[in-house]
């Protein structure tokens, strides 16, 4: 059963360049250029590319946070999210409509240090989206927070602590619990494991896979590390200079890439096998 959850059609994103005495728009950069892809329900799509290729820009426009962050940004095309009541175009929603849709689309950020408010307890951080979206009472929400803390491998008692009391891997788990708490359909993971040490990275990847099975989640997994993307994804899309240059089944893109850029990208990844042994 392949049912699309998210369809991105001909998405182009242009950032304005301000200049001159009156700070008017003098030019624009095309960060994303005519990108189209579909993610099916329960699937993981990996989006890889080097810095500046536009992969994070795509991720941000799916959760529609460009308008708040960069005034004057031009977004063309469609991002269709299939809700239970039919498809909606994320780019056309107003603030309150988008806010209610965010119960179904959540994002996990790269940096577990700057994406958690240092002045809020972990419990309040996870409770934030619940308060907005769930309509549950305070005690029900507390139970929910405790449940998800346990689910991501932390203890319910951790709810009263602050982010600085945790290690990088634990903080990333808090970020995952926050995204998970409202039980979204789609999770956009933007370099979610890049900042972690190898041994902890493996734990978090396993956790993401377990949660996907348990809550039938769909992931858009944005990363630059090809071996990680290959491991977790069903399909991979390779981006270069704002365009998708290759897209296909995870194994075939990783093992037999067709586009010269994908080939270069994959051959540049250092393999943990000594040179002389190969």
């Amino acid at each position: 059963m392949t049912k699309p959850l998210l369809e991105v059609k001909n998405l182009s994103i242009k950032y304005p360049i301000w200049g001159g005495v009156l700070r008017h728009k003098v030019n624009e950069v095309c960060a994303v250029d005519d990108v189209s892809f579909t993610i099916n329900v329960g699937e993981t799509l990996g989006l890889v590319g080097e810095s500046g290729c536009g992969k994070t820009t795509v991720a941000k426009s799916i959760v529609n946070i460009h308008r708040a962050m960069t005034p004057g940004v031009a977004q063309e095309g469609e991002i269709l999210f299939h809700t239970d009541d039919g498809p909606v175009n994320v780019l056309e929603l107003d603030r309150s409509q988008m806010r209610s849709l965010r119960a179904q689309i959540q994002i996990i950020f790269q940096d577990p240090f700057s994406s958690l408010n240092p002045r809020m307890t972990v419990g309040n951080i996870i409770d934030g989206p619940l308060r907005l979206h769930s309509g549950k009472t305070a005690s029900e929400r507390r139970e929910r927070v405790a449940y998800f803390l346990e689910r991501v491998g932390l203890q319910p008692e951790h709810a009263g602590r602050y982010p600085h009391e945790f290690s990088g891997g634990q903080r990333q788990r808090v970020g995952i619990a926050r995204a998970l708490a409202v039980q979204p359909k789609l999770i956009v993971a933007d370099e979610a494991v890049s900042a972690l040490d190898v041994s902890v990275q493996a734990q978090v990847l396993n956790l993401l896979q377990d949660l996907q099975d348990e809550f039938s989640l769909t992931y858009l997994f944005v990363a630059h590390d090809l071996s990680v993307v290959h491991h977790i994804s069903d399909r991979i899309a390779v981006m270069y200079l704002g365009k998708i240059v290759e897209m296909g089944d995870s194994d075939s893109v990783y093992k037999t890439p067709s586009h010269p850029y994908s080939q270069a990208l994959i051959s540049a990844v250092p393999q943990p096998i000594p040179r002389r042994v190969r």
């Binding site: 080097e50 810095s51 290690s167 990088g168 891997g169 634990q170 040490d197 190898v198 041994s199 902890v200 990275q201 493996a202 734990q203 990847l205 396993n206 896979q209 630059h224 090809l226 071996s227 990680v228 290959h230 491991h231 977790i232 270069a264 990208l265 540049a268 990844v269 250092p270 393999q271 943990p272 096998i273 000594p274 040179r275 002389r276 042994v277």
Partner: protein
């Protein structure tokens, strides 16, 4: 790279750098953090030695201690010796150490933007490195700077001398750093996570360049500090694995990657997605978190996360066992195997 050199050949050579029982501690609130606690190793001429470990393992502190760049306070070298060119670097005065740094030992860092001074041109910074250590005229220094920038692959070097660091891309800045570190022809280059901030394609270029330049310098060695096991496998001759401020395993790159003996080394390799066995869906992660150096176990530093730990591991620190051909492992489980 020295394809067929074995450990026995190495031990006949005189080491370029000898680190003996190095202890670097930091005074912190609530006590003393032993960031590096009794580390010993040699670096031989004409080799690339890798130090791998996760954050907090002490790998960077080891390299900064060799350069005597530990901020004091709060840090201090509590003991040990670092022998380089018949002198113990720990005993050198400030001025004597300045003559070693950048001249006999070069160093490059992870973040080339913070390591370069943004208000001076690249030319001035490379020429300063030359003029600090060699008695040359401005013109000669300029020529040397152009020559080295050309060598590290900066096109149109004599014009780009006038450019500032922000006018270079990340990869190009790392090339400039490499030029500054190598302009005085040091015998040892310490590279602390030199490619971590770079994209994979740029990383491959910089690593190739480092090895190329090393091949030109007859007896030069590189000490590469990284957390990326792939980078180590592709560039190093020998590898040191650190955890909890201690050397846990040391051997040739083949010994470490083909026949890892320490449970931590095995765990690290197993955590890699590329090391999955066919049919396995999940990664074999190391349980638990990297402990803070303030509350490390008194025995084996890894015992709290080790799946093979037995009774006694947490009480006594295992010595380094030699399992053959210079392959050293710090694990109690090897006690019987060695006897």
């Amino acid at each position: 790279m020295n394809a067929n050199r074995t450990q026995n050949d190495l031990s006949k050579q005189k080491p370029l750098l000898e680190v003996r029982d190095l202890r670097t501690y930091f005074r912190v609130e609530g006590g003393i953090a032993k960031a590096v606690d009794g580390v010993s190793f040699d670096v031989y001429p004409d080799e690339v030695i890798g130090i791998v470990g996760e954050s907090g393992s002490g790998k960077s502190v080891t390299s900064l201690s060799i350069m005597r760049l530990i901020p004091d306070p709060p840090g201090f070298i509590a003991g040990g010796e670092i022998w380089f060119n018949e002198q113990n670097l720990i005993d050198l005065t400030y001025d004597e150490m300045r003559r070693v740094r950048g001249n006999e030992i070069g160093m490059i860092f992870q973040e080339p933007m913070t390591a370069l001074n943004p208000v001076f041109t690249v030319g001035m910074q490379v020429m300063e490195a030359v003029r600090t250590h060699q008695k040359v005229s401005r013109k000669e220094a300029r020529n040397l700077a152009i020559e080295i920038l050309d060598k590290v692959g900066i096109l149109d070097a004599d014009r780009r001398l006038k450019d500032y660091p922000h006018q270079f891309s990340g990869g190009m800045r790392q090339r400039v750093m490499l030029a500054m570190a190598l302009v005085c022809n040091p015998q040892l280059l310490i590279a602390d996570e030199p490619t971590t901030a770079l994209d994979v394609t740029t990383q491959a270029q910089i690593l190739d360049l480092m090895l190329e330049l090393k091949a030109e310098h007859e007896r030069g060695s590189i000490m590469l500090i990284t957390h990326d096991l792939g980078v180590v496998a592709e560039t190093c001759d020998r590898v040191i694995v650190m955890y909890g401020g201690k050397l846990q395993e040391m051997g040739s790159v083949e010994q470490i990657f083909e026949d890892p003996q320490h449970p931590y080394t095995r765990g690290l390799l197993d955590s890699l997605p590329s090391h999955q066995r066919p049919g396995e869906d999940r990664l074999r992660a190391i349980p638990g978190n990297v402990p803070s150096i303030m509350d490390l176990p008194s025995g084996c530093k890894f015992c709290t996360r080790c799946e093979d730990a037995v009774i006694g591991c947490e009480n006594t620190e295992p010595p380094l066992y030699d399992v053959g051909e210079g392959h050293l492992v710090r694990c109690h489980l090897l006690e019987d195997a060695v006897k």
